[in-house]
């Protein structure tokens, strides 16, 4: 027996100050303040609002990714699902529906179905999540080349354009969408039995199974949710961008995982919160914005971005050793 006792996790002010979501928010605030004073135009309200609008896309993908990672899995097909949604949506256009809502619903259903297949592969066939979702990504990329070829498709859908450009009450619709999804994600994770099952599954799958957690249904559900939020991100991205093209979702694979881990969610599963992923997403967009200012070629910017993510992850503390 180990007589050593862990620290008492009481909800004191100190423990909140030391919590990962708070720390991540503090880092974002610090970077914004320093950059705001040193760089012209960075601190302008419009610019900061734009950064959060960009973060919304990462935030949506990372919401699904957080669900998956908490259960001890990983979804490497989110980039491909975003692309499929952004390129596929214009294909779902029906004359009978001038609002464009049906196209969005059809796109999200397709994205969720892709996630469902991911989940079924992981749960029933017991394929490792990395292999399953990577294979799915490759499959989707092939499909895209056949359907879309190399050309970009422009969006005609009014609702999608509204989502990408409208500002009800001065707040971009994308940010409002992110707020709604964030609230739902936090509620499901921390206030429902389903959320408790996710953490149990991630912390100890054997004990979870023996405690009656419906492992297969839960696994399929999280990958379907991840497909859904990735599809939502694809729709939003299409609206903001005006057109969809093959490769549009690629940057969001690494950033969604980085946002989850930066926010303090264990990559091994079993602990964490979406409350940390939110500042993680904002931090990543901020870094991208800062790098863009640096006068360097796209190649060097990418190298810098990759190196910075790695450095941030190392700084944010490595996974505590598990027995």
């Amino acid at each position: 027996m180990n007589e050593a006792a862990g620290a008492k996790p009481t909800r004191s002010l100190g423990s909140i100050l030391r919590s990962r979501p708070f720390l991540a928010f503090a880092v974002v605030a610090l970077v914004w303040i320093v950059a705001g004073f040193t760089m012209r135009g960075f601190g302008a309200y419009g610019h900061l609002r734009y950064l959060i609008e960009l973060s919304a896309v990462i935030g949506l993908v990372a919401a699904g990714q957080t669900f998956v990672v908490v259960t001890g899995g990983i979804d490497l097909s989110v980039g491909a699902i975003i692309t499929v949604s952004a390129v596929g949506l214009p294909l779902f256009t029906w004359q009978a529906d001038p609002t464009g809502l049906s196209a969005i619903v059809a796109t999200l259903a397709m994205a969720s179905a892709i996630g469902l297949v991911n989940g079924a592969g992981v749960a029933f066939l017991r394929v490792h999540p990395m292999i399953m979702t990577l294979a799915m990504a490759t499959f989707l990329q092939g499909l895209l080349i056949i359907i879309a070829g190399g050309s970009a498709v422009s969006v005609q859908n009014e609702l999608v354009q509204w989502l990408g450009n409208a500002r009800p009450a001065g707040i971009p619709a994308g940010i409002l969408l992110w707020l709604v999804i964030s609230a739902a994600t936090l509620w499901v994770m921390h206030a429902t039995p389903f959320g408790a099952r996710l953490f149990a599954l991630g912390a100890n799958p054997i004990a979870a199974q023996l405690s009656g957690v419906p492992v297969i249904a839960t696994t399929i559900a999280v990958y379907a949710v991840c497909g859904f939020t990735s599809g939502l991100a694809g729709v939003l991205l299409l609206g903001m961008n005006g057109q969809g093209y093959v490769g549009i979702g690629d940057p969001y694979l690494l950033t969604s995982i980085a946002a989850v881990v930066l926010g303090g969610t264990s990559i091994l599963g079993g602990s964490g919160t979406y409350a940390g992923t939110i500042p993680g997403a904002i931090l990543l967009v901020t870094i991208t914005a800062l790098i863009t200012v640096v006068n360097a070629s796209p190649g060097w910017r990418s190298i810098l971005f990759g190196a910075l993510i790695l450095a941030l992850l190392l700084l944010s503390g490595r996974e505590a050793a598990r027995r």
């Binding site: 027996m1 007589e3 006792a5 862990g6 429902t192 004990a207 023996l210 405690s211 009656g212």
Partner: protein
């Protein structure tokens, strides 16, 4: 001269003293028993003696020379080997590779496999391991793995051998082999420190005993002339009374679970009836299919049956949620790996089976969760703040959590897999009382146990498994350790002279 000694050592974790001024002297050619309840500081003392942890105060002496900061490497060089309670084997490596791990014979910078095989073969023969040396350890039963662990220690030709609860997962035959082996080592002049909760075993083999209670040494004396009751008193600091509660066998018993022609894993063609209000024991040597029987009934292992009645259902549960819905609960043997979520709070652990069954998106009520958990913690005397992670609890308290978490489901059948393994005497008694109380409340309790006295004193009936089949069903009036052991090894019990 003592081979290894601790003089006045102290150790604290996070300000909690775990050992306070404890001394122990290990002499060559002597089997020294270390007794104490869970949390008494035994494991910590072993960690200090083997260099795994530094002492806060006091000194460790090897051959009479004080060592300031002994590292595990120095301890190994001094010939100190530890057989841990928690097995330290690598499942995917072979028996031979595990035995040699960290001390591989080298040849031209590569592992000398022939030399390793020869060395491993020699120690395996000594401990009675006759499996092929290339067998991956992950395929062995818990008892056999324990023997590999012991072989691994022997391979290092120790001068001091420390064994932490070595027999908790061993069968009677393996225990006998081990005890014989310890006798040989003693004659060779090895100093042996032996930790066990099984007093009879300790009384049989050890010559000297040290007792710890709450981090303080309460006895250090030759064993000759002391009795078991006296030792228990020293461990728990009070009169032990009877370890087993007194109970009345249930009068009216209706079957709640019936299977015929049941097969799962190595279990073949088992007919079994479990009745409400009884404790049904499952005995036998380690690894005769007992665990597969429980897991098959629980839907956690593919199983078949010619006919099955489980609660209202006419078929075996196909998965765990279905088993739970049919009123079956399972408490695993390996509570750290299978029973609990160590990094999660005690409250979350207690509530998990409930979370698994209520509608997925029904809002949680923190206050009612807290009330339920607090009630159960009181009822099962689980000590500690419910918000703390389960890994902060002692083994006995962890076991109580693993049992308590099923209570909100009000299961009709409780399947328990060796619930008192590695649990201290006092908690054992508490668990015994809980099990009889549950039976008295009309539950059917199925108790798989490697501890034969438990089966004799706690069960209404005992089923003994041998090679996957039922070799005997012993009713209460015929229950005795001899009857169970005879059925387990497959000999006719000697009838008392008529």
């Amino acid at each position: 001269m003592p081979l290894l000694a601790a003089r006045d050592v102290s150790k604290a974790f996070f300000g909690n003293p775990v050992l306070r001024g404890v001394s122990i002297v290990l002499m060559p050619g002597r089997i020294h028993a270390l007794l104490g309840e869970n949390g008494a500081g035994k494991s910590t003392l072993i960690n200090l003696l083997s260099g795994a942890l530094p002492a806060d105060g006091g000194a460790i002496e090897i051959n009479g020379k004080a060592i300031a900061h002994m590292s595990p490497g120095e301890a190994q060089k001094a010939g100190i080997a530890v057989v841990q309670q928690e097995l330290s084997l690598t499942g995917s490596l072979s028996i031979a590779e595990n035995i040699g791990l960290g001390a591989y014979p080298r040849r031209f910078g590569l592992i000398d496999y022939p030399a390793l095989a020869a060395g491993a073969k020699a120690v395996c023969e000594r401990v009675g391991l006759n499996e092929p040396l290339s067998t991956p350890v992950g395929q062995l039963s818990l008892g056999r793995r324990q023997m590999v662990e012991i072989a691994k220690a022997l391979y290092r030709e120790p001068r001091v051998l420390i064994l932490d609860e070595p027999t908790s997962s061993l069968s009677a035959a393996e225990t006998k082999t081990l005890i014989g082996l310890l006798g040989e080592l003693r004659r060779d002049g090895v100093a042996i420190l032996y930790i066990s909760h099984r007093l009879n075993e300790v009384m049989a083999i050890a010559e000297h005993v040290t007792v710890l209670k709450d981090g303080v040494r309460t006895a250090d004396q030759p064993l000759a002339g002391t009795d078991a009751a006296g030792l228990v008193r020293l461990m728990v600091g009070r009169d032990p009374g009877d370890l087993f509660p007194h109970w009345q066998p249930a009068t009216e018993r209706t079957a709640v679970l019936t299977v015929t022609g049941f097969s799962a894993g190595m279990v073949r063609g088992v007919d079994l009836t479990v009745k409400a209000g009884e404790v049904l024991g499952i005995g036998g040597l380690v690894g005769q299919g007992q665990e597969e029987l429980l897991l098959g009934l629980y839907g956690a292992l593919p199983a078949k049956a010619a006919s099955a009645t489980v609660g209202d259902a006419r078929e075996l549960p196909r998965n765990v949620p279905k088993a739970n819905a049919a009123g079956i609960a399972y408490i695993p043997a390996d509570r750290k790996r299978e029973g609990l979520h160590l990094i999660h709070s005690i409250l979350t652990n207690i509530m998990l089976p409930t979370f698994s069954r209520v509608p997925a998106l029904k809002p949680r009520s923190r206050s009612s969760e807290r009330r339920t958990a607090e009630q159960l913690a009181r009822r099962f005397t689980i000590k500690g703040d419910l918000a703390r992670p389960a890994q902060a609890l002692s083994g006995g308290n962890q076991q109580k959590v693993a049992l308590a978490k099923w209570m909100p489901q009000d299961p009709a059948v409780l399947l328990l897999n060796d619930p008192t393994r590695g649990v201290d005497v006092e908690t054992k008694r508490e668990i015994y009382i809980m099990l009889r109380d549950l039976a008295a409340a009309g539950k059917a309790v199925v108790l798989l146990s490697s501890d034969t006295p438990e089966l004799v004193h706690l069960c209404d009936r005992v089923v003994v498994l041998r090679e996957g089949r039922i070799s005997a069903l012993i009713e209460r009036q015929d229950l005795s350790e001899e009857a169970i052991v005879s059925a387990a090894v497959g000999v006719e019990p000697q009838k008392a002279a008529a």
